[in-house]
């Protein structure tokens, strides 16, 4: 799955704003708030040796045609879509619209190869500093207008500019030096130096219709090239998408329509799933997922470790200016208990900000191998630093799950001798402090989504937790140099492996972000839904387009 999951929003839905999630507002704010993508709609990985992105026209394997039943309406739920951030805020609840109405130039295959979508050719030069794109022929927008290179240039510009916002903005605007439309189907990009991670950004950049893009927030006329056409949207009720008869892939999609439904709360969604009133839902709370796993009428698919709940430490003031105190925190957290109790046993504890499938993830560095729960060692470190019994403040945005997570952490810290006081903030205040990188307390509880597991540079670009400056106030010349190095390194190279290992170790040794437990996204499907294989991280295919109902 791709790489960028909008954890902030996902978690936000239940924990922070309870169904009132404002677009990209997440409590802890996913670092990558903007970048919510999903498995079926992958980000390209610059594959090993990333030099020449392969570009054979994609041929997604099609199941035996005889099995597939055509027609029907898929009933989906991902909550109230947020029109304000329909395209650029990558809100989890916008996905069914986002992923069906618009498409990107490229996607990812299950083995991390570039999967061409609207691009017929997608070629990076040897050091990933330039990109040559030729568009597929005969692709038209839903209104019949042919797709041209100008639309691609417009879309890249659209996502690079401030009003569109989102996490694409930084990487695209800083990474791309020049865009040159050669002819109707050809477009060339020149980057500001080697930018292998930018490929991921193209995998996230949806190609919009330049005539109607400005009206997207109205949610009345959404025009793209995707397998489904937008028909209507009624707030608090839902939306309707219908089959695009002129879709460029022959015979796709199988469904006649997708209907989005909005429910009062998670309990109502659970009920609708069990009764079959709803075919598909995602972003469910852990407790509900745990109980749905025992229901034979639905399938629960994990999308894997999709983000990291963490505790951020402010390193610019005592006691966390002392690295020993920060290490003590790393050791004081009982991640197994967090996993068993807070996460209802369905998500694992972790200390590394990467999905397990990411090349940047090294199991030997993570909990419980690299980091273990050792309260005695933590207490000893605190005593050594002379801060045993010190009072600290831990802030968290109000919201049931977040506050409950904070209490587990508080309990762990109290147990080793850091007297922790919880500071519960208005969500807007918590967000503002994170944004301005001025945290009032000594520490905070947050969550961020994962960047591309294919290239760590993507996350570095977008997650404030690991940028310089960050809310922890953690910085050093060595760290900045490491970030620059990681940005340019080619995936799969020896430098890559050494670089990410160094980054991970630095994060564990001088922790400014203390990983707590993984954030995992589950989608739940009624058993009549077929063609959805590939719900886990590593398998990616076009979402919804190839789904069908075995009803």
């Amino acid at each position: 799955m791709s790489n960028f999951i909008d954890l902030g929003v996902m978690v936000g839905r239940r924990r922070l704003l309870r169904g009132a999630a404002l677009g990209a507002a997440g409590l802890a704010g996913a670092a990558l708030i903007g970048c919510g993508e999903d498995d079926d709609d992958p980000t390209p990985a610059a594959t090993a040796g990333g030099g020449g992105g392969g570009s054979t026209a994609s041929a997604t394997p099609t199941p035996a045609a005889s099995d597939i039943k055509r027609g029907g309406t898929l009933l989906v739920d991902s909550g109230e879509p947020n029109p304000n951030v329909l395209l650029f805020g990558f809100n989890v609840r916008n996905r069914p619209i986002q992923h069906t109405v618009w498409e990107q130039l490229i996607g990812l295959t299950p083995d991390f190869q570039i999967d061409n979508r609207l691009a017929e050719t997608f070629e990076l030069n040897a050091d990933s500093s330039a990109l040559h794109v030729v568009l597929r022929e005969g692709v038209t927008f839903h209104d019949g207008r042919p797709l041209t290179a100008d639309d691609v240039a417009y879309s890249v510009d659209f996502f690079s500019n401030a009003e569109s916002s989102g996490q694409l903005k930084g990487p695209l605007s800083q990474g791309i030096a020049e865009v040159k439309v050669v002819d109707d189907r050809t477009i060339d990009f020149t980057f500001n130096g080697p930018r292998p991670a930018l490929v991921d950004m193209f995998g996230l950049t949806r190609i919009v219709d330049r005539n109607t893009a400005a009206q997207i927030p109205d949610m009345a006329n959404l025009v793209g090239t995707g397998p489904f056409k937008f028909v209507s949207y009624t707030p608090d009720q839902g939306y309707r998408l219908e089959r695009n008869e002129n879709y460029w892939r022959e015979g796709i999609p199988y469904l006649d329509a997708i209907e989005g439904k909005v429910y009062a709360d998670d309990a109502a969604r659970e009920l609708a799933l069990r009764s079959g009133e709803l075919h598909w839902a995602d972003a469910m709370p852990n407790a509900i997922v745990a109980s749905l796993q025992n229901d034979s009428s639905v399938r629960v698919r994990s999308r894997g470790k999709a983000g990291m709940e963490h505790m951020g430490l402010v390193t610019t003031k005592p006691p966390f200016d002392d690295v020993r105190v920060r290490r003590a925190v790393m050791l004081a957290i009982d991640r197994q208990r967090l996993s068993d109790e807070w996460a209802e046993g369905i998500v694992a504890g972790t200390a590394l900000p990467w999905p397990v499938e990411s090349p940047a993830y090294n199991e030997d560095q993570d909990f419980p191998v690299g980091v273990s729960y050792d309260p005695d060692a933590a207490a000893a470190l605190l005593a050594e630093a002379g801060v045993a019994g010190t009072q600290i403040t831990l802030q968290v945005g109000s919201g049931e799950d977040a506050v409950s997570l904070a209490q587990y952490v508080q309990d762990d810290l109290n147990a080793v001798g850091l007297q922790t006081e919880l500071v519960i903030l208005e969500p807007s205040v918590a967000l503002a402090q994170l944004r301005s990188r001025e945290i009032q307390s000594n520490a905070w509880i947050g969550v961020h989504g994962f960047a591309n597991y294919a290239h760590p540079g993507s996350m570095m670009n977008a997650a404030q937790q690991y940028q310089v400056p960050n809310a922890s106030g953690y910085e050093s010349e060595a760290y900045s140099a490491l970030l620059d190095r990681l940005q340019a390194v080619q995936l799969g190279s020896a430098e890559f492996d050494a670089g990410v290992r160094e980054f991970n170790q630095l994060l564990l040794d001088e922790p400014w972000i203390v990983g707590l437990v993984a954030s995992e996204e589950f989608r739940i499907m009624n058993s009549v839904v077929q063609g959805d294989e590939g719900g886990n991280l590593s398998v990616v295919k076009s979402s919804f387009a190839e789904w069908w109902l075995d009803a």
Binding site: R18, A287, R337, E341, E400, V403, S404, Q407, I424, E426
Partner: protein, 298 residues
């Protein structure tokens, strides 16, 4: 109210007749009326348990007992433990305490604002009266709980905000009551006579009101407290009352809703809330009966 209090203090020792009236009334409420007695005993127990929670509670309501999650009732944890391994009984006591403090504060604020406004309106009359009473009508037009929710959006979520929001919603009832008393007193013979003699009627009026208005005021207070308790619980249930981890009866009930397979999590806080509401209402009824000569005769 403050003015009344001052007057009380200045007043000489109560005449014998008055004191014995107070005694008979109390006896009427508590001893002769089984409902009143039940209410009084229940309320006393709940108030002691709630206000004394720091002393009475067997555990810290926020302390987590590792590995003792979602336990049933036991000798260690009388009502079991919640999802965060905390002692439910202690949490209920502290929830009760929050509920008590909020309702006392809210009622106090309501009395303070409401009675002053009512006395001013009744005494001044004219335009002042019209303005105050139009404001009262307006406040009364708002659905109570919804108004509190709107006010909470202003003050932010938290126990202080809830107390303030409920207090600001409680005053109009007291204003009507105080104004009515004031109007009644103003036309009494003794006031007219005092005025005719050139004496200041202010002092005498307030003193009389303080005595005459006390019974209905007490009834109104008990009812306002019950309303505040209910509203506090509702807001807690909606997740916009007290901020976690602080317990509130409403939030405990909301937590229980997600774990219906463990009904004791629901029944315990619901019973505490129910008994609290019931005791306030029973007592209010008993006071009302005792004060109402018509009903007393029956």
């Amino acid at each position: 109210m403050s003015e009344m209090a001052v007057e009380e203090r200045r007043a000489p020792a109560k005449p014998r007749a008055e004191r014995s009236l107070l005694w008979t009334t109390t006896r009427e409420i508590v001893l002769k009326n089984p409902m009143g007695m039940t209410g009084a005993i229940l309320l006393t127990v709940l108030v002691v348990a709630g206000l004394g929670a720091p002393l009475v509670a067997p555990h810290d309501p926020l302390e987590q007992f590792r590995g003792q999650r979602l336990l049933g009732p036991s000798t260690e944890f009388w009502l079991g433990t919640d999802a965060l391994s905390r002692d439910l009984f202690s949490r209920i006591l502290y929830g009760l305490r929050a509920s008590l403090l909020v309702s006392i504060f809210a009622t106090g604020l309501g009395v303070l604002i409401g009675v002053s406004a009512g006395l001013v309106a009744g005494y001044a009359g004219g335009l002042t009266d019209s303005i105050i009473m139009r404001l009262v009508d307006t406040m009364m037009a708002f659905p109570g709980l919804i108004l509190s929710i709107g006010l909470l959006a202003v003050f932010g979520v938290g126990i202080q905000s809830v107390a303030l929001a409920l207090g600001l919603g409680a005053w109009p009832g007291f204003t009507r009551l105080a104004r009515g008393q004031m109007l009644a007193e103003r036309s009494r013979d003794y006031v007219v006579a005092a005025r005719a003699l050139g004496a200041s009627s202010k002092r005498i009026i307030f003193r009389h009101i303080a005595i005459n208005a006390m019974p209905p005021l007490i009834v109104q207070c008990a009812l306002a407290m019950a309303t505040a308790v209910l509203a506090e619980a509702s807001l807690g249930f909606l997740g916009i009352g007290t901020v976690a981890p602080a317990p509130s009866l409403g939030s405990l009930i909301n937590d229980a809703r997600a774990r219906l397979e463990l009904p004791h999590l629901l029944i315990a806080p619901a019973a505490a809330l129910g008994l609290f509401l019931l005791s306030l209402n029973l007592l209010a009824d008993a006071i009302n009966d005792a004060m109402d000569p018509h009903r007393r005769r029956r």
